[in-house]
């Protein structure tokens, strides 16, 4: 039925524009979940979220409620959050510890942490001679087809085939390398708090905003200006370098003017992944930074240290569900809830072995920009909602991504924006190219 109504999705995406239904049609949303989110590698969580055996965290992959759980063998498993008996959800809370095994609240079937059936009450008398019981694979909790992790970041794919996680991530792996390498111990650990914010707009609208270098100085002018006013007063009363960096992180939204954002660059990769280069003044010469540098040089040596802190990344987008700000050790996982409803789960990480002030610096950004009291995303979410409203109307058929179209430079399998074209809409074109490939694959 659906396929009759939408016979040829490839006509919905052109290299420089996209049909509006791609954002608003519930049938297309269902197809996206089936063909993209429930096939590709989706970020579940970080291994340090579930440190002990039995620790679990619920996570939504596409339309599927899943569990990430640490087994007694130390392995992190990803299971469907569902009892194979009558379909009861196994864990009704967001996270917790299952104890030595999962136990269903309905009829007390129990399961090992890898999903394997452990016991059924009165199994012999109840199931002897039936097709159900201990050896029936249908009596296990179903596992995600594939689970892999990269530097502690756990991903699952609900499809048995497809590229490995490493192949899928490709160059976007730098999101995790950059984050972990900035830790003197080469690892990060979760800060045990998840900010969750719902957007009333299609999931792609959020992703397309993440590397949109043109919008900050327009959308966030108000916060940037307000922060700059306070920053100026504080600067007058303080010695140079004493004003907390958080004011600069906010004021940069306004003081980095539209034309300056063009100096940044986007790098666009297969599978829809994109990187925005450019640095928001995170390598100042204050005493906290210098103390951190010292610890880093001791851990890595001068040469490697320079390489690590010289990585020039503002944002990495791992399509279709993860937005990473590696120099600030935070990420936003995107969970589409419906065609016009999207949940973001926002996490912060601690650099293992780094001095406390470095953690506090990125924490300030986490609280001010990424918490539910965000002075930045308030205006983004307003835009997203307005976009979704506009796209639901008959006022036009297309979303256009024409900025600097035709000037992209393709080399070594990646698409770069031309010099001084950082505000190019190449990342949006790249995401829609991947979308089109996923949606029409094998058809």
């Amino acid at each position: 039925m659906l396929h009759e109504r939408i016979p040829n999705l490839s006509g919905f995406v052109e290299p420089d524009r996209v049909r509006r239904e791609v954002y608003t049609d519930p049938a297309i949303f269902d197809m996206e979940m089936e063909r993209i989110h429930e096939r590709v590698w989706i970020y579940c969580g970080h291994e340090t979220q579930v440190p002990k055996a039995g620790d679990y965290y619920t996570v939504q992959i596409g339309r599927q409620p899943m569990l990430m759980v640490r087994g007694a063998d130390g392995k992190v498993n990803v299971l469907y959050n569902r009892c194979p008996h009558r379909g009861n959800m196994m864990c009704g809370d967001r996270s917790g510890n299952a104890g030595e095994f999962f136990r269903c609240s309905y009829h007390s079937w129990t399961f090992h942490h890898d999903g394997k059936l452990r016991s059924i009450p009165m199994m012999e008398s109840g199931y002897a001679g039936t097709r159900f019981g201990k050896d029936s694979p249908d009596c296990n909790m179903k596992k995600a087809a594939r689970v892999e992790s990269y530097r502690g970041f756990v991903f699952a794919s609900l499809a048995a085939d497809g590229p490995t996680l490493k192949e899928f991530l490709g160059e976007s792996r730098i999101a995790f390398d950059d984050m972990c390498d900035r830790a003197p111990e080469g690892e990060v650990e979760i800060v045990p708090n998840c900010f969750r914010v719902i957007q009333h707009s299609n999931w792609k609208i959020f992703l397309e905003n993440q590397l949109d270098a043109l919008h900050p100085s327009v959308t966030h002018q108000s916060t940037g200006r307000a922060a700059h006013e306070v920053e100026k007063v504080l600067e007058k009363n303080a010695k140079k370098g004493q004003v907390p960096l958080k004011y600069h992180m906010l004021s940069a939204f306004a003081t980095v003017t539209i034309d300056k954002w063009d100096n940044f660059q986007t790098l666009n990769y297969p599978h829809g992944h994109c990187i925005l280069t450019g640095y928001m003044g995170l390598r100042p010469q204050d005493p906290d930074t210098l103390a951190y540098d010292k610890v880093m040089i001791k851990a890595y040596g001068q040469k490697r240290f320079e390489e690590i802190v010289g990585v020039n990344i503002h944002h990495v987008l791992i399509y279709p569900g993860l937005s990473v700000q590696s120099p600030l050790q935070q990420l936003r996982a995107v969970r589409p809830l419906g065609v016009d409803k999207t949940l973001t789960e926002i996490w912060h990480f601690r650099l293992k072995g780094a001095p406390e002030p470095i953690y506090r610096r990125s924490l300030a950004y986490y609280n001010l920009v990424n918490s539910p009291s965000t002075m930045i995303n308030a205006d983004d979410l307003e835009n997203f909602w307005k976009c979704h409203q506009g796209l639901s109307s008959d006022g036009g058929d297309w979303v256009t991504f024409g900025r600097h179209f035709g000037r992209d430079i393709e080399k070594d399998g990646r698409v770069e924006t031309g010099p001084n074209m950082g505000t190019s809409e190449a990342p949006m074109r790249n995401q829609m190219k991947a979308w089109s490939q996923y949606m029409t694959a094998g058809r």
């Binding site: 708090n193 969750r196 957007q199 307000a226 918490s371 539910p372 009291s373």
Partner: protein
Amino acid sequence: MAKKKAPRKPARRASGGDTQHAVEQFLYRQADILDGKRWQDYIDLFADDGVYWMPPEPSHTTWDGMPAIFAEDKNLMTVRMGRVLHPDAWSQRPLWGTNHVVGNVVIEKESPNGDVVARSRFHMMELRRDDVRHFAGSYTHHLKKTEDGYRIRLQRVDMTNAQAAYDYVLQVWV
């Protein structure tokens, strides 16, 4: 007569009628200022070293070095005010308003110098565009007594909704 009875515990002095009344009036006035969008007046209720704090969960005992929904000193509060008043604060364009009701005011502690720790409960309804949201929780006010009345050293806001997913965001203090 009952009123002639000596108080059973000396601590009862702490909830003496005058203090109770003064603190209640302070809290009601703060809520009124907030609903009236009188942002500078709101900030002025805080002591110079005052902090407005909303932890993401009730177990937190300090804002210092912790994830927080709000952890704002007067400088950050001034940024927030400046943003809201900026003509291009786009998300401020739609009609919006709030209505706070504060009650269950309990004086937790009164120091000899008149400083007070008070707990209370609030309910707040917010209209934004055509949508209504409802928030509720508790306040803990650490109040400093000054010649000009109370000033807030620390206002802790434990929002019952804090651990739920936020439908949209919070643009100003609750």
